[in-house]
Amino acid sequence: MAQLSSNLLYTAFVLYLVSIVFFSGAIKAKSADGTKIAPSRSAKIGILITIIGFIAQVGYFITRWIAAGHAPVSNLFEFTTFFGMALVGAFIVIYFIYQTPLLGLFTLPIAVLIIAYASMFPREISPLIPALQSDWLHIHVTTAALGQAVLSISFAAALIYLVKVIDQTKSDKKTFWLEVIMYTLISTLGFIIVSTAFSMANYESTFNYIDKNNAEDQIEFAMPAIVGPNEGELQSEGSFQPLIEMPAIINAKKLNTLIWSLGSGLLLYGLLRLIFRKRVSAMLQPLVKNISADLVDEISYRSVLIGFPIFTLGALIFAMIWAQIAWTRFWGWDPKEVWALITFLFYAAFLHLRLSKGWHGERSAWLAVIGFAIMMFNLIAVNLVIAGLHSYAGS
């Protein structure tokens, strides 16, 4: 069952990749005749493959649930994978409302990145610690993830909007920040490539080091240590000697991973710039030529409007009910709770600015980008860096 489950996930992953190809075909087909909304053949195939992929991933979810005896949303791998799945599901729904293959071309790569990122974390089926043994596990986590996924569609639409409207003939703050978004996405890809490469090469180097409580400890790096741990002594032969040693307070392993990700991202980004001789967003701009800016603005806004209630229900209300049962209080200022509140407040501000202050179009799009950044911060940094009561999610 567990084997079947991971095969299904793999199938879904590949199908999503294939559907990206078809969606990009749909764009070209559209620019050729240049006219009305009737979805091209290529787009139809694209959405069909996406749906099959989605069904495969739902199959992964169900079989893993059966194998584990609990909903597979209990650690970082499972949660993030589910988030990717919800993102694809949300995209399918929005696709049928607005019939825009272009949205697939932007959403699916993000979903694929997220699922690939998820699989860089330990994938075994883990038993539930006492705090997680509750039906609220799947009620709370799935609703929260679904809300975040719909909100993320708003980011994808905003990205299309920005790529479309930002003037690439000049160089200013806007083009810079749009490139920062592109570079961040590419760095995620860099992280996936580097992690996969070193894990296939079975790279491992062990250090003895002194931790921040002045105790001796051992740590294993899965990537060559550019930065090493405090007073680290390399134990494995033939491994790379760290260039810089970190003080004990900094987690050298995580920093090292970050450096590798950003470095490989920079390399990939630099290569793209060298080959194509223009900004990545400028490269993407022809793809979005034919879409109506108003329509993507509307999609971005609608996604927030649809996602916000779901997010509030899952990440705050269900969360509070469960916290009252498991942790004795419905609210305790745990970092994950606070960041869910921050996400809620942010999108509340977004809606107020949009409804009452008339922040449409570009301003609204930048806000959607910031909203997504907050959610990713909550997913990645709060689990891996800040930790807290939700820290079982990281590893």
């Binding site: 075994e124 883990s126 108003d294 609608r302 409007l305 509070m320 004795t328 606070v338 960041w339 800040i386």
Partner: protein, 541 residues
């Protein structure tokens, strides 16, 4: 107050921009605009009309969405600050916060502590931010909902042409048979669940008006939620206590006025076992090591019978047995007891043997209950042990004298006087773990360590929260309001016959794309074109 009488005869409150009844423009500034600002239907809002007294100014300040958004953003930023380092309640109790932050995080930690960010969510300024959001919610809502309600209630079917042509969706068309076209459109609108009102051959189709109240409903929910949060500080509404109870021990449950007692029959800690648990977990257990499966206290709950005078041992009546686990609290009479902590193998009894140092011969065993030590042990045949001093948590103080840090037997030590037939006055011996001192010279006898008995201690949080139902009510109303406002749209279509032409205008509070598509299907095959979007006419679709 000087009310504004519109040409149509309707009397509007002072400050109205668009006549509540016919929609005629009353404020000259609006006349130059291509499109009307339809927010709040151009009604007279207090905040836009008065600005004289101090109350006006406060009202206007808090009724501003701009101020509201600033308050949200400030709260958001502040909340983020509080997550940089752990809050005081989450730091391990190894040292006081004043030292902990600097010790762990250096100067950053020191600064964090000195700025009060270690206890930020309870700080006065954070509470003021939250309270301001509450005030802003009340005033914002009142400022808008009353006039909006009036305007929507009194709107007439026939709207002034200046109102129609300044709508975002607008069209004029000629038609041969207006009545037949209208009839077709009416049927289609009805099929789409529009409410239709007619007046002099003009038509207003409207649906989803109730979604306009969504924001105000959710604001009411939030206000109730915040009030519920404040009520926690009212005495008697909220109990947060911890009860440490040893196996076999019966203790009064704190916060219940001595009404309830709890016995810890057994504390159970289970970990996942590769042998007995599902083998799919093997890989994870191999990687992580031990994973806890269950924390459980088998408890019996008692209620006190009748009244007792202080000091008297109460008579207890058993209420029920309950296995308290994480996620499965024991509930009684508004109280809930949660499994939150434990201590395994706490020293409970120590066993000693009176022994002759040379012959190693034993003259009797004694068992000392570390929580209620007996002081004299008669071993018979002239052998007798007296416990002269007992230090449950022994250490040497600054002057080298033995003392105890606490009453918990973490490191018990004793001063024994051993009376034997050879030494009728007794020999004094100081015995601590792995350590024996004979302060008055060499002894013939010693108290040999003969084992310990340990017990588990379970910690239960005792919680009563009478604010929960108010908070739940607030949360539920908030959710209803958010869904009401987000998943429905207020759509209106006006059709007016003027000089053989048909004027059509459409408005929605959001989701223009949806309205346009709906109107296209309504006007399809009727001979009339759907109203056009005046905003994006010049842009390509």
């Amino acid at each position: 107050m000087n009310e504004v009488k519109c040409e149509c005869g309707h009397v509007n409150p002072h400050g109205t921009i668009l006549c509540e009844s016919c929609g005629r423009i009353l404020d000259d500034k609006e006349k130059d605009k291509q499109l009307l600002d339809m927010r709040y239907e151009g009604s007279a809002r207090r905040s836009q009309t008065y600005n004289k007294t101090i109350i006006d100014k406060i009202w206007n300040f808090f009724s501003s969405v701009k101020v509201g958004v600033w308050l949200i953003v400030l709260t958001l930023g502040a909340s983020a600050l509080g997550t940089i380092l752990p809050q005081e309640m989450y730091i391990p109790p190894v040292m006081p916060a004043s030292e902990y932050y600097e010790d762990q995080y250096g100067w950053v930690g020191k600064l964090y502590y000195e700025l009060g960010l270690h206890n930020m969510y309870g700080s006065w300024w954070y509470l003021i931010l939250i309270a301001s959001i509450g005030v802003s919610l009340v005033i914002c809502s009142l400022d808008r909902v009353v006039p909006l309600y009036r305007a929507l209630k009194t709107q007439r079917v026939s709207r002034h042409e200046g109102y129609l042509k300044r709508q975002r969706l607008f069209g004029i068309s000629d038609t041969a048979d207006a009545d037949m076209d209208l009839e077709k459109i009416k049927q289609k609108l009805k099929a789409k669940r529009y409410n239709i009102r007619e007046e002099n051959g003009n038509l207003l189709a409207e649906k989803g008006r109730f979604s306009r109240w969504g924001p105000y409903v959710n604001h009411v929910g939030l206000i109730i939620f915040l009030v519920g949060g404040m009520l926690r500080f009212v005495p008697g509404m909220y109990v947060d206590q911890i009860l440490w109870v040893r196996e076999g021990e019966t203790k009064v449950i704190p916060g219940t006025d001595g009404q309830y007692y709890l016995t810890n029959n057994d504390f159970i800690l289970e970990i996942y076992d590769k042998e007995t648990d599902d083998e799919v977990f093997d890989a994870a257990i191999d990687r992580v090591g031990t994973v806890v499966k269950n924390y459980q206290t088998n408890a019996t709950l008692y209620q006190k019978k009748g009244n007792t005078i202080p000091g008297e041992k109460p008579e207890l009546e058993k209420i029920k047995d309950k296995e308290i686990r994480v996620n499965e609290p024991l509930k009684i009479d508004g109280f809930a007891l949660y499994q939150v902590d434990y201590k395994r193998d706490e020293l409970n009894k120590m066993l000693f043997r009176l022994e002759n140092k040379q012959t190693k011969e034993s003259y009797g065993n004694i068992t000392i209950d570390l929580f209620d030590p007996q002081t004299e042990f008669d071993l018979g045949n002239g052998y007798y042990v007296e416990v002269m001093s007992y230090f449950p948590d022994f250490e040497f103080d600054g002057e080298g004298d033995p003392t105890t840090k606490s009453r918990i037997p973490n490191n018990p030590a004793f001063v024994f006087n051993m009376v034997t037939p050879e030494n009728p006055d007794g020999e004094v011996s100081f015995v601590a773990i792995q350590q024996t001192i004979e302060p008055l010279g060499d002894n013939e006898y010693k108290m040999a360590f003969n084992g310990v008995e340990t017990k588990d201690v379970s910690a239960l949080t005792v919680r009563k929260d009478l604010t929960l139902w108010i908070i739940s009510l607030g949360g539920a109303i908030f959710m209803i309001g958010v869904i009401q406002g987000a998943y429905w749209n207020h759509r209106r279509l006006w059709i007016r016959k003027m000089d053989g032409q048909i004027w059509t205008a459409g408005h929605t509070n959001k989701n223009w794309h949806g309205l346009k598509r709906e109107l296209e299907s309504v006007f399809d095959e009727t001979g009339l074109p759907a109203p056009k979007d005046q905003l994006s006419e010049d842009k390509k679709e």
